[in-house]
């Protein structure tokens, strides 16, 4: 018996229709398959490109290579056990996934989050935004040939992971956000460590900009490349830095403040023409604004509980278990069945590093969600890839994909 089945893979994909391109009889087109295992595709994205010489005439993204059925798995877990699973969707912005899910469940429960927990969420989310943008900068730099930016970006991101490790014990997928607040209060010394980071980080950004901004090669690769106008992007549902690069200042942190974002003074960076250079500048400026938000949140960090005192939702403190029968019962109920959520449907959008991350949760009244859906910004933004790269060189396709910043874990879920 043959080890591998006799499948003609091209035949299986005969329904993938490549665009009909009008061309003269002497023009030759080449269909080139990129990925799914290609380091420049930022994950396992497969691109079916039609090339005329070096020029991209058509591109079809084919996804699903890391589809793991996360949304399906969520339906089989109690609400609080869903949090570590949704964190693994967009694996670079795990705090945001957890935040969107917790926010949706809190809306269903009509639950108030204590101010201290809201501030702690903001601090960790903005640190995560910087970490995510640093990975974008590092890998995007690598795609442009800027090897040193790759190493420096990774180094600074590791400092943020050290902070996450300090507050939650985990460097990635921290399960720090809980329904009703956060898992535990920040440890002593965390504030100083974050301040050390935020005081030094703007200098780091200056150094990155010294490396990149005056680099002739980078400028030629980014400026006036892959510009798409605002209306096209809006029609395609694009949000986040890609949309803001065209000058549209839509940012949910400002537009529809959640989790106390209206307490902080920060700006929304926007671009002008929406080319790759604007996308780069917008994200660099966003990191500076995130630093400002973190410092303000640390300055104004309110005292008080870090998680709701509703014992039906949040675990009782450990010391109560020894003395209170009621606490023991609540603890037992929560870790076995979990809490029940009133029936209903909620769509809760937040601003992730890549755009609007919406979490749709449907509850049927039981202790497990009946449907969890993530409107992942990478998934929707990927549709703008074709209008961006059409009629560009294939080398610019790589650079544009880096500036699009898709995360395949979020696209495939």
């Amino acid at each position: 018996m043959a080890l591998t089945p006799d499948i003609d893979y091209r035949e299986m994909e005969r329904s993938v229709e490549l665009s009909e391109i009008q061309h003269g009889p002497e023009d030759e087109f080449l269909t080139l398959n990129m990925g799914p295992h290609h380091p420049a595709t930022h994950g396992v994205l497969r691109l079916l490109t039609t090339l005329e010489g070096e020029v991209v005439r058509d591109v079809k993204p084919i996804i699903g290579y890391v589809h793991t059925g996360i949304e399906k798995t969520c339906e089989d877990k109690a609400y609080w056990k869903v949090i570590p699973i949704v964190e693994r969707m967009d694996y670079l912005s795990y705090y945001f996934n957890a935040h969107a899910f917790c926010g949706a469940v809190e809306t269903l429960l009509d639950l108030e989050v204590p101010p201290r927990a809201q501030y702690l969420r903001v601090i960790h989310s903005e640190l995560n935004r910087i970490a995510s943008h640093l990975i974008w900068l590092a890998t995007g730099g690598l795609d442009l040939g800027a090897m040193s930016v790759f190493w420096y970006g990774w180094r600074d991101r590791d400092q943020i992971l050290d902070l996450f490790e300090m507050s939650s014990g985990q460097r990635m997928h921290t399960r720090y956000f809980q329904v009703g607040g956060v898992m535990e209060d920040i440890p002593p010394g965390f504030e100083d460590a974050v301040r050390r980071f935020t005081s030094g980080f703007p200098t780091r950004l200056d150094q990155f900009e010294d490396l990149i901004d005056k680099n002739e090669i980078v400028l030629q690769r980014l400026r006036n490349v892959a510009a798409v106008d605002e209306q096209t992007l809006l029609g395609l549902g694009v949000t986040g830095p890609l949309l803001r690069a065209t000058g549209n200042p839509f940012d949910l942190r400002k537009a529809a403040p959640y989790s106390s974002y209206d307490h902080f003074d920060f700006k929304i960076p926007v671009g002008t023409v929406g080319d790759n250079y604007d996308r780069y500048r917008v994200r660099m400026a966003e990191m500076r604004e995130s630093v400002k938000i973190i410092e303000q949140a640390l300055d104004g960090l309110p005292e008080g509980p870090y998680i709701t005192d509703n014992r039906k939702i949040a675990l009782p403190p450990r010391h109560e278990l020894a003395t209170s029968m009621e606490a023991l019962i609540h603890h037992f109920k929560l870790v076995t069945e979990g809490f029940r959520v009133p029936p209903g449907e909620v769509y809760y959008p937040i601003e992730s590093p890549r755009g609007e991350l919406g979490c749709f949760v449907r509850s049927d009244g039981s202790a497990k969600p009946a449907r969890v859906h993530m409107r992942d910004p990478s998934f929707v933004n990927l549709q703008a890839f074709k209008p961006m790269v059409q009629d560009l060189y294939i080398a610019d396709l790589i650079a544009t994909l880096a500036m699009l910043d898709p995360i395949l874990g979020g696209i495939d879920r």
């Binding site: 018996m1 080890l3 591998t4 089945p5 499948i7 299986m12 994909e13 329904s15 993938v16 229709e17 996804i63 699903g64 589809h67 059925g69 949304e71 399906k72 798995t73 339906e75 089989d76 809306t107 269903l108 009509d110 809006l234 029609g235 395609l236 549902g237 694009v238 549209n248 839509f250 537009a255 529809a256 209903g344 449907e345 909620v346 769509y347 959008p349 609007e356 919406g358 749709f360 449907r362 009946a370 449907r371 859906h373 409107r375 998934f379 929707v380 990927l382 549709q383 495939d412 879920r413």
Partner: protein, 173 residues
């Protein structure tokens, strides 16, 4: 979000244009939902676009098993000027899961309708390229349906591939 009265006003306007377009309105936790007939989806979205809801944030499927009609498709609309959201919901039976596609008018729905087709089996009439988005082309069934079991498929690695004979031949062979 439009409040409960505002939602009724919108529903009233939609009913004026098409008497039986809106089946129900729902206001829950500050979230306004219009439940419309499947055939009325493109028209409803177009009228809401005229009222300022010009951004289609999300299209996703739901399975209401064991209620009937089982399958639902939800469209999340956003007004970027006044930061106002409204949801449009439609429900279809599994025997006749046809919903008119909104991709021609809203290009963002392309991949998202393909995902709902892949995961729930909702057929979007008029979609330019309705293929499975995530699952393999030759996959049978729609995995996000509530009666679709978790697990049950062997996970194939190089070492156990010879021990799972015939997995590629499909059922009945």
């Amino acid at each position: 979000m439009p409040d409960a009265t505002g939602l009724e006003l919108i529903a009233g306007e939609l009913r004026e244009a098409d008497a039986d377009a809106v089946l129900d309105t729902l206001h829950f936790r500050g979230r306004a939902t219009l439940h419309v007939r499947p055939a009325a989806v493109p028209g409803t979205l177009e009228r809401l676009r005229g009222k300022g809801y010009g951004f289609l944030a999300s299209v996703h499927g739901v399975d209401y098993f064991p209620e009937e009609p089982r399958l639902g498709v939800i469209y999340e609309l956003l007004d970027m000027r006044s930061i106002d959201r409204i949801s449009v919901k439609t429900r279809v039976h599994t025997e006749d899961p046809h919903v008119p596609s909104v991709t021609p008018a809203w290009p963002t729905a392309d991949l998202q309708e393909r995902e709902a087709y892949d995961m729930f089996g909702v057929i979007f009439d008029g979609h330019p390229d309705l293929r499975r988005s995530h699952m393999p082309e030759d996959y049978e069934g729609h995995p996000q349906r509530r009666d679709f079991p978790i697990g049950g498929e062997p996970i194939l690695y190089t070492h156990n591939e010879p021990r799972e004979p015939g997995w590629w031949e499909g059922e009945g062979s």
